[in-house]
Point group: C2
Chain length 80, copies 2
């Protein structure tokens, strides 16, 4: 089973990478960009067929290792 | 209109961050993880209501700035 975990800075937390991309896009002429946030995406291939067990494992991985919950939110999506 | 762009290393391109996460997960006892790839996710808020114009702009942004197409693939998802 494949899954993806998005780890994105919480609203209100300064995102210098996002700001840099925003500025670069403006310099390239993309005036219609209102806001940019950059985060990480982690794609995981799991040897697991049970959806609930997969989700529970992915939640533990996110909270123990992948996301710093003080400043980041995570979002798990199962792909098949 | 909000959109997300995932930028992931192409298959076959070495992904040291993904490997490091994989090892760390194994050390934490997650034996069922087969593979891990890490990439970037860029969330963009666009002042644009036309889907086709939005998609075409996002494609240009990805190819000009966000993804290095020699080693990375990108995937655009419109969110509303």
């Amino acid at each position: 089973m494949k899954a993806r975990i998005d780890v994105i800075l919480k609203d209100g937390v300064l995102d210098p990478q996002g700001k840099a991309i925003h500025q670069a896009l403006r310099h390239l002429g993309f005036e219609k960009v209102r806001e940019v946030r950059q985060g990480k995406v982690i794609e995981i291939d799991l040897d697991e067929t049970d959806k609930n067990r997969a989700l529970s494992g992915l939640k533990t991985m996110s909270e123990k290792l992948l996301a710093n919950q003080v400043i980041e939110n995570y979002r798990i999506t199962l792909q098949d």
